[in-house]
């Protein structure tokens, strides 16, 4: 049994320690947010947060995760009460198929918790690992800027 802390709750998981976190989240814990995209760390559809940093859950074996704080999009809010990044994506309608969206939100969350005032260039550089094939990148960038404003309480005047 491996003990994992996911979205503030501790789960005992009976899985091979080499199993990537993605499969445990989806199949053992029933969390849909993180998506299988490539299994290679090339697309970011599986992005979750571990101790505040964005990581590829498709590459991270659960063996290295006990004692660390895992967060998925399910931990940011619900459809009825979305967190600020989720709310910003809704406000900007920043999706088409939405398959990459949860990964985008988690990567953005990891940035904005540290740097809510990140500017356009900083956001683009930070979001670089995540792919969107529908071409909604401009909406995602708007959503991340909007979320950053919300998370600073609208104090930044430059956006």
């Amino acid at each position: 049994m491996i003990s994992l802390s996911v979205n503030g709750r501790t789960h005992a998981v009976a899985a091979d320690p080499a199993t990537p976190l993605l499969y445990v989240l989806r199949n053992d814990l029933g969390l849909n947010g993180a998506k299988f995209g490539c299994g290679l760390g090339q697309c970011g559809a599986c992005t979750v947060m571990v101790d505040g940093a964005a990581v590829f859950s498709c590459l991270t074996p659960i063996a290295v995760l006990p004692g660390r704080r895992i967060r998925t999009i399910e931990g940011l809010g619900t459809a009825a009460a979305p967190g600020p990044v989720q709310a910003a994506f809704l406000a900007e309608q920043a999706a088409q198929c939405g398959y990459c969206t949860a990964g985008m939100v988690m990567r953005a969350q990891a940035l904005l918790e540290r740097e809510p005032g990140a500017d356009e260039a900083r956001i683009r550089a930070h979001m670089q690992p995540n792919l969107c094939r529908c071409g909604t990148q401009l909406r995602i960038l708007r959503a991340v800027r909007r979320a950053g404003r919300a998370m600073t309480g609208g104090r930044r005047a430059s956006l």
Binding site: N32, K35, A79, L90, V105, C134, G135
Partner: protein, 736 residues
């Protein structure tokens, strides 16, 4: 997953009368949209006792936002809040057969049908209420799901529906609202599917978990034309969690209780490598290995003359120009590899799939499994965006083959990334050649265009075009490839210029033998044809000493086309543009299929001569999709189309070696990332109240590619005519 109820067949007496009169009327006039194929009103909508309305569409939500737009259309004509409508998408047990969700047809076919069906249902509700209230129908209005009399008496739709049959045939004419009274159509209703997608809700076929479900992986060689060499069946079968290996002919899949266990067993099965299987990679015999579109004219072709306008021969003083343009094979590149869930219970097969065509897929799977079609049900559940025919149908067939071998157990079949890259049908390579003459007045006096390409669709195709069908013993035969006829066309889509040309000839050299496995990719041949035509228009404008926008307008009579071109130019500030160092401006226009949406694009780019990097600084688009149902949905589609086509144009090309693919992941087939995303894109929607819906999803791809090429030519004075306009090609153009 919900279970379908059989469609109510009982006819109320009033319904019979309506049906009779409608049938006579129908003989005289064509029904609107896909009502022509499914004329019964209750095929499209049903009213519950609570007044909620269920709307049925045979089209699929692919991430394009069609579900939201169709709900708006129904809500508008029913005078109902959108939240009181439930939409059921493509399901062979529940919805009309609307073929494929493709070709930007959904609003035209399904949107038009639902608009008219809803208007006719509202009229029936009003008539029913008039009888119950003893009022003249003309005095009644509908509001928020009720029919309301002048004295304030109301009858809810739920109560009225109890005495009303919608099992009646539609009429050709509908009492449609005048567009001036629209309150839902024309407004940007937020997408109905996004809240769940943003909160980890079960939104995709990948998210399905059925009781007792097992995880399957299919084991194949890396790409078409290969097979596994001596897979270690015994070793893989003994691995932890493995329940079974399913073999049928060359088909091989592993089934495990845990998903990661299935992946591990797949790795073991493929560890011993692969070999050529002696078949042609494209599935057709005698296709020589051709990895470069420049080689296409060397293949045997059937020559289809699609336009032959005899005009006066160019005078002696006319100046002749010519150019050739190519596009490589492209991938759809879904972010989520294909997936399907299949369950064989009591002799009935149910397949949950992200296919674009559940009815044709059902027919193919029924033949593949040797089951009657009535015993197979295909239900569309969203996957990642597909942009045409990717591995969706193949994965659905793979799941069904495994499920049939394991009755009672739901099977979730998930392709791996390298399988999607390795096996998805590609968008075909193309070559276009233009010759034209300019008269002394700077106008085009003759035009000749030839395009070389395979078919652009292997659908429906039956089991012989599905990978599992090709692996059976004996394999199902693949049907001969066929061109898609004009006016929509396939490889020749948009090969006929929209411009007014006194003398023009267009030929489609249709190549039956396919060097690579291919099928429909968003916009089909329009991508290369518009790239070629719109690049050449710029070359001619330059030769004529004319501004590119002025030159287009001088050859453009269609009033809506002129509006789109003029608006894009105005909003961009085209006439006031000033070119900076290493910058360029590009313009392009097309009407998709010459019968769909109009899209004009202007852009400014910047080129780094040393690296060959090309960056889009700002893009302005004007789009006319007819009556605009959801303007933000249209903007989202055009923005996405521009960004995706920027990726196609600048970066994308499937790699081959000796006729086989070498692109198996995002490092070998890079696509656009955030750093390459245009600085800014502004889309202006031209609304046409009351005009037919034209669809939007494929309008931007051709114009975007051409505008990039034109902007590069403006920046460097040299043009790149072969896609992709890669850094290496830009450096080469810059160095001369």
């Amino acid at each position: 997953m919900t279970v379908a109820l059989p469609r109510r067949k009982a006819l109320a007496a009033g319904g019979l009368l309506v049906a009779f009169s409608c049938r006579r009327a129908r003989a005289a006039a064509r029904l609107p949209g896909d009502l022509q194929k499914s004329p019964l009103l209750d095929s499209w909508l049903r009213i519950g006792p609570d007044g909620r309305v269920t709307v049925f569409t045979g089209k699929a939500e692919l991430g394009q936002g069609i579900a939201t737009a169709l709900i708006q259309v129904a809500a508008e004509e029913l005078d109902l809040r959108p939240t009181d409508i439930t939409l059921v998408t493509a399901d062979t047990a529940r919805t009309p057969d609307e073929g494929f969700t493709a070709g930007s047809h959904s609003m035209q076919d399904s949107g038009t049908a639902i608009l008219n069906a809803a208007a006719q249902a509202r009229a029936l509700l009003v008539r029913q209420a008039a009888a119950q209230l003893g009022e003249d129908s003309a005095n009644l209005v509908t509001r928020d799901g009720a029919v309301v009399a002048p004295d304030g008496r109301r009858l809810g739709y739920g109560a009225l529906a109890a005495g009303l049959s919608l099992d009646v045939e539609a009429s050709a004419a509908s009492p449609l609202k005048p567009p001036g009274r629209f309150t839902v159509i024309g407004h940007s209703l937020p997408r109905v599917d996004l809240p769940a997608k943003l909160a980890g809700g079960a939104a995709y076929v990948q998210d399905m978990r059925l009781p007792g479900m097992l995880h399957a992986r299919v084991a194949r060689g890396p790409s078409p034309g290969t097979r596994l060499r001596a897979p270690d069946l015994r070793g893989a079968g003994a691995m932890p969690g493995v329940v079974r290996l399913v073999r049928a002919g060359e088909f091989l899949a592993v089934v495990a209780t845990g998903e990661w266990q299935a992946v591990a067993a797949l790795r073991a099965l493929t560890a011993s490598g692969w070999e050529a299987d002696g078949t042609a990679a494209g599935g057709t015999a005698a296709a020589a290995p051709i990895d470069d579109a420049a080689g296409l004219p060397g293949l045997p072709a059937r020559d289809l003359v699609i336009l032959d306008r005899a005009g006066p021969a160019p005078a002696d003083g006319a100046r002749q120009f010519s150019a050739r343009y190519t596009r490589p094979w492209l991938m759809h590149g879904a972010i989520g590899p294909s997936c399907a869930v299949a369950w064989f219970r009591d002799g009935e097969m149910t397949v949950w799939t992200h296919s674009q065509g559940v009815y044709p897929l059902r027919a193919a799977i029924a033949k593949l499994l040797r089951l009657p079609a009535a015993r197979v049900r295909c239900i569309q559940v969203e996957g990642a965006g597909c942009y045409g025919q990717n591995g969706a149908d193949d994965a659905a067939a793979d799941a069904a083959v495994v499920a049939q071998a394991m009755p009672g157990r739901p099977i979730r079949m998930q392709w791996m990334r390298e399988q999607e890259h390795g096996w998805e049908p590609l968008g075909p390579g193309m070559l276009g050649a233009v010759r034209a003459a300019l008269g002394p007045d700077g106008r085009i006096v003759s035009w000749e265009y030839e395009v070389w390409s395979n078919t652009h669709s292997r659908r429906p195709g039956g089991p012989g075009v599905l990978l599992a069908g090709q692996e059976m013993d004996p394999p199902f035969p693949a049907p001969a490839p066929r061109p898609i006829p004009m006016p929509e066309g396939g490889g020749d889509r948009n090969a006929i210029p929209i411009y007014t040309l006194p003398r023009a000839r267009c030929t489609y050299h249709f190549i039956p033998a396919m060097p690579h496995r291919i099928s429909a990719l968003r916009s089909l041949g329009a991508h290369l044809n518009v790239f070629a035509i719109e690049s050449f228009m710029d070359e001619l404008a330059r030769a004529a000493g004319s501004d590119p926008v002025t030159f287009r307008l001088a050859h453009l009579d269609d009033a809506r086309a002129r509006d789109a071109v003029t608006l894009a130019a105005a909003r961009f500030g085209w006439s006031a543009r000033r070119r900076g160092a290493d910058r360029g401006f590009g313009f392009a226009f097309a009407r998709y299929k010459n019968l769909g949406a109009y899209c004009a694009i202007a852009m400014e780019i910047e080129v780094a001569r040393e690296t060959g990097a090309l960056h889009l600084l700002r893009v302005v688009a004007a789009v006319d999709s007819g009556q605009a149902v959801n303007p933000d949905g249209i903007r989202n589609q055009i923005e996405g189309g521009i960004v995706q086509a920027t990726s196609w144009t600048l970066q994308e090309q499937v790699g081959f070696a000796a006729g086989r693919r070498t692109s198996f992941d995002w490092s070998a087939y890079p696509i656009l990332r955030f750093a390459d995303t245009p600085g800014r894109v502004d889309v202006h929607v031209i609304d046409r109240p009351g005009a037919p819906f034209l669809g939007t999803g494929e309008a931007a791809q051709g114009p975007t590619s051409a505008a990039i090429g034109n902007a590069l030519a403006d920046a460097l004075g040299r043009r790149v005519r072969d896609l992709p306009i890669s850094p290496a090609r830009v450096r080469e153009a810059a160095s001369v």
